[in-house]
């Protein structure tokens, strides 16, 4: 029982990341009709927003280390600490949450610029060409990040206060040994909030209603004389922000490196396909479902029966779903079919 619960929890935070990335992907599919292979790179950019903020906050100057008295020793001390003492240290500690504030406008800007500068010109081109151009773009973004930050993963810790684990077992009256890292729990909540916000936005605003109508029937909506172009830009911006936020918050879980986006992209695509192209609910459900399945597959008990299953479970599920239910779990007719 405990083992099952912990696997579900383990799956949920990864599932949350899949769901957030897939949400943006499927939004772009459904409204803009664009297959965006650079979406993983946007996730990665989000994570590097956190890295950049952390590095900015810890900009240091070499000062004399007073704790060493035998000889003159120097250490790097962040300016923030020099200026503000403990307050500065606290700010540095909260680098990741703070970077969310920066990530939103930055990612929005990147999204809008990308849509206006590149994606816009590919609405009428074939899916193959969309895949190819965004794939090229993803490589370029990746390499630029590599040029600035190097190829190694950069540890970006969560605030100290949440760096430990929550004793979930004790809280729920189960085994004491059932613990779960606080940050992963926070990630899960965060993913839930973002998903909820996106859904609420689409459901309760006029803008959102137009977008949903556009997903159902793009031609009719453009015939209604609604400025679809500008909405496309905003939708793409939202998708970018969601991917970016998913990345920011994931940085403490997985130290960001320049190709983390590609790894997540392939999986997220599978998630979108499993959920059903153009279905927002499907993407979210499939994201969590696959995250949990993957977590179960990596249990030793399962692995001893099906060796290597943890490596391929997601792809295997995708293959089966695509063959049995071509439109995915919740896909609608006519989306992305030729």
């Amino acid at each position: 029982m405990d083992a099952i619960l912990i696997q579900i929890l383990n799956g949920l935070d990864k599932g949350g990341a899949y769901a957030l990335i897939a949400l943006g992907l499927t939004l772009t599919f459904g409204t803009l009709g664009v297959v965006n292979f650079a979406h993983g790179a946007l996730f990665m950019l989000g994570a590097f927003c956190a890295v950049s903020v952390q590095q900015l906050l810890t900009l240091s100057k070499s000062v004399k280390d007073e704790s060493i008295t035998f000889f003159d020793a120097y250490k790097d001390q962040p300016y923030l600490e020099i200026w503000w003492g403990d307050t500065g240290t606290a700010i540095i500690d909260y680098a990741v949450p703070i970077s969310i504030l920066f990530a939103i406008p930055i990612m929005l800007l990147i999204g809008v610029a990308m849509e206006r500068g590149l994606i816009k010109h590919f609405y009428k081109r074939s899916h193959a060409e969309q895949i190819l151009v965004t794939f090229g773009f993803a490589i370029v973004v990746q390499e630029i990040i590599k040029a600035f930050y190097g190829a190694n993963p950069i540890p970006t810790p969560a605030p100290d206060i949440v760096s430990g684990s929550a004793a979930i077992g004790a809280m729920l009256g189960l085994s004491e040994s059932l613990v779960y890292p606080w940050w992963r729990l926070i990630y899960l909540l965060f993913a839930g909030v973002v998903i909820f916000a996106v859904f609420a936005f689409l459901k309760y605003t006029t803008f959102g209603m137009v977008v949903r109508a556009g997903m159902a029937d793009r031609e009719t909506v453009s015939l209604l004389g609604i400025n679809v172009e500008r909405r496309f830009t905003i939708v793409f911006g939202i998708a970018t922000v969601v991917a970016g936020l998913a990345g920011v918050m994931y940085a403490p879980i997985l130290p960001p490196d320049y190709h983390m986006g590609m790894d997540f992209l392939v999986l997220s695509f599978v998630v979108v396909v499993v959920g059903g192209m153009g279905s927002l609910g499907g993407a979210v459900a499939a994201g969590f479902l696959l995250g949990i399945l993957q977590s179960f597959a990596s249990m030793n008990e399962i692995k001893s029966i099906f060796p290597g299953i943890d490596q391929i479970i997601i792809y295997l599920v995708a293959v089966v779903i695509l063959l049995v239910r071509p439109r995915g779990l919740m896909g609608r007719e006519g989306v992305m079919e030729d």
Binding site: E129, L132, I139, Q142, G308, P326
Partner: protein, 385 residues
């Protein structure tokens, strides 16, 4: 329209063979005449030709062809380990094995089309890659990669009493060692054969039907064709080309690693095909040539080499130029590649071949104003490029 000489297969093959076999000569002036690079040209050429039979003719974009490349590689090394260091069985087994896998994967993937097909092939390739790294380690030797060892069986070799030498044996074709230029010529001959097969397919009723499927698959069904077997044949053929290329990789360097199966490797062949001109006969080969050549040049460059190149500029300008360009060379080669990828898709979706055709039409128009009778000659020269 049947009279233009390039419609004649013999003429095409003659020109093609001459160009390929003399490559070490005419590539010398640009410093691309050493065997390693020449072998790469030929091997990736075969890979891209095969990929083009699927993507170029039917329009089905596979993102998993690297899996077949990897399977060909592993099979070839196993052939060296188990049977003989002779390369012929390795080539044949590698191709067949890739064909078998392509049949299975294609049979399932082709139940869907469009983006779904791409995702399915991608999923299968990623599965192969993950498995090769983990569970299949006994077959693939995991991260280290599959390689020759001193105590390999080599049944056939020992049967014929091939003397064990000191050190690892090298791949050979009936005694002729397959390294350096002889390795290139072996690959070149196979490239020529591969090109001939592709030429025949392009100019066969079978090829025409594949093109028609790309153009309007629904109509093909109502015209009386069962399209699935056609697509599957094309998929298997192109998978076999990939396996062949993989086997050749193992022949020139008997070490097979799982990274050959990664989806970025699949992406590379897509890029090469697109860059050259998808659906054209020569295009994919041009794409391979351009990418592999520049990869070779650019990835070997470093800032000091750049300083030498831009030496003629004033020092401050030189520093700025080098400061920018240094990110595009060496490890940054991938940046160049990505940028090139985007530029081609944005501005020249038909690839280099489209560019050449456009240029040539322009010249033809210019010349046509003066001399109408020269048209035929011009058209031959243009196509040959």
């Amino acid at each position: 329209m049947m009279k233009i000489s390039l419609q004649n297969n013999a003429v095409v093959m003659l020109i093609f063979s001459a160009v390929v076999l003399t490559a070490p000569l005419w590539l010398a002036p640009i410093g691309a005449d050493y065997p390693d690079l020449l072998q790469k040209f030929a091997i990736f050429g075969i890979f891209a030709i095969g990929f083009n039979i699927l993507f170029g003719l039917t329009g089905y974009l596979s993102f998993g062809h690297a899996a077949f490349l990897g399977i060909g590689s592993y099979t070839a090394v196993w052939s060296f380990k188990l049977f003989t260091m002779n390369v012929l069985p390795a080539v044949i087994l590698g191709t067949i094995m890739a064909g078998v896998f392509a049949l299975a994967i294609g049979y399932i993937s082709l139940r869907r089309s469009g983006i779904y097909f791409s995702i399915l092939t991608l999923a299968f390739a990623q599965m192969s890659y993950s498995l090769a790294y983990s569970v299949l380690t006994p077959i693939t030797n995991g991260e280290t990669g599959l390689q020759l060892t001193m105590n390999d069986a080599r049944v056939i070799d020992s049967l014929f009493g091939v003397e064990a030498e000191a050190g690892l044996p090298s791949t050979n074709l009936f005694g002729q060692v397959m390294s350096g230029y002889s390795g290139f010529y072996f690959c070149a001959v196979i490239l020529i054969i591969g090109f001939y097969v592709s030429l025949k397919i392009f100019r066969s009723p079978f090829g025409l039907k594949l093109t028609a499927i790309k153009s309007n698959q629904t109509r093909m069904k109502y015209t009386g064709f069962n399209t699935r077997p056609y697509l599957l044949s094309a998929f298997v053929i192109s998978g076999m080309y990939a396996g062949l290329a993989g086997a050749l990789m193992s022949i020139t360097d008997p070490l097979a690693g799982a990274e050959r199966m990664q989806w970025t490797a699949s992406g590379e062949v897509v890029l090469m095909t697109i860059l050259g001109g998808v659906g054209t006969l020569i295009g994919p080969l041009l794409g391979v040539g351009i990418i592999k050549y520049f990869e070779n040049i650019f990835s070997a460059m470093n800032p000091s080499a750049l300083h030498e190149i831009f030496n003629f500029l004033p020092l401050w300008l030189e520093n700025i130029v080098v400061g920018i360009t240094r990110h595009f060379v060496g490890d940054g080669w991938h940046l160049t590649l990505g940028a090139m990828f985007m530029l081609v898709v944005i501005f020249l979706p038909g690839g280099v071949m489209e560019g050449i055709t456009k240029l040539f039409n322009y010249i033809k128009k210019k010349l046509g104003l003066n001399r109408v009778d020269s048209e035929d000659h011009v058209s031959e020269g243009g196509d040959r490029k």
